[in-house]
């Protein structure tokens, strides 16, 4: 049973990652891509790790996986922030049309 749940979680995680990758290719605006990549990092990665922990059961390996998950949750937002912050300070801005839809970046 735990094997089935673990594998199901890994598949769900991979689906999240696949959707993220698809969206990164579809959306052209820089900040949309940053936010979507942050999603791939968090939801996809956490689900895959939970799947691996369930597959492994109660052991030292699953405890290590949990520690990896904690370290990832602490460091991943920092890297996302660094990329977004450097783009913002470099002058990338969001432009809008009158109907509120995104059109293009301020600096191509």
């Amino acid at each position: 049973m735990s094997t089935l749940i673990g594998q199901a979680l890994i598949v769900i995680g991979l689906l999240f990652v696949a959707t993220g990758v698809y969206s990164v290719l579809v959306y052209k605006e820089f900040y949309s891509r940053v936010v979507i990549t942050a999603k791939v990092d968090t939801v996809g990665f956490i689900t895959i790790m939970f799947g691996l922990i369930v597959l492994e059961g109660f052991s030292f390996v699953s405890a290590k996986l949990l520690l990896i998950l904690v370290f990832e949750m602490l460091t991943s937002p920092v890297s996302t922030h660094a990329i977004a912050h450097s783009a913002y300070t470099s002058g990338y801005r969001i432009e809008r049309e009158s109907d509120g839809q995104l059109t293009q970046e301020a600096q191509e």
Binding site: S23, Y31, I46, H85, I94
Partner: protein, 164 residues
């Protein structure tokens, strides 16, 4: 003083637990080595790296912090499914909004910024004092008063409880 000793005790227990997991060996010898290593690490960090005392700088309450982590994972999933639906339907409306927080401690503000970035749909751009500039996937308003509670969710209140 008692609470300080209790804080160091709990923190040492956490470090020993991490040491045991890394060693993959639950024995008295491993626990003792872990305890000695954690004391050495705490003393060296206190004396050489930190400007103030460890317990004073990182006054984390363990049970509320654990509850905070659980709520964070739940929030990540709720926001994840919402962002997924939005991305697939093409209804994304990215905007940059300024929010302010009642948290004053830089450590707490950093944790709040980290949590906001972890929830899919928002990424912290700039942090200056108690104000944060955030990219928001579903930007419905630019008013900091209205956007603040939506972006921050329950995290600000939970952090106040965990870091009191």
């Amino acid at each position: 003083m008692v609470s300080k000793i209790a804080w160091y005790g709990r923190f040492m227990a956490l470090m020993v637990a991490v040491w045991v997991v890394f060693s993959e060996n639950f024995s008295l010898q491993t626990i003792l080595i872990g305890a000695v290593a954690s004391v050495v690490a705490l003393v060296l960090t206190n004396r050489l790296i930190l400007k103030s005392d460890y317990a004073a700088l990182y006054h984390v309450r363990f049970v509320p912090a654990l509850w905070y982590a659980v709520r964070l994972v739940v929030a990540i999933y709720v926001a994840g499914f919402q962002a997924l639906a939005r991305m697939l339907s093409g209804k994304i409306n990215v905007g940059i909004v300024d929010i302010t927080t009642e948290l004053e401690d830089p450590f707490a503000v950093s944790l709040l910024a980290n949590s906001i970035t972890l929830t899919p749909g928002t990424v912290t751009l700039v942090q200056s004092g108690s104000s944060l500039r955030v990219i928001w996937l579903d930007c419905t308003t630019n008013d900091p008063e209205i956007a603040g509670p939506i972006v921050k969710g329950p995290f600000e209140r939970l952090l106040q409880a965990a870091l009191r």
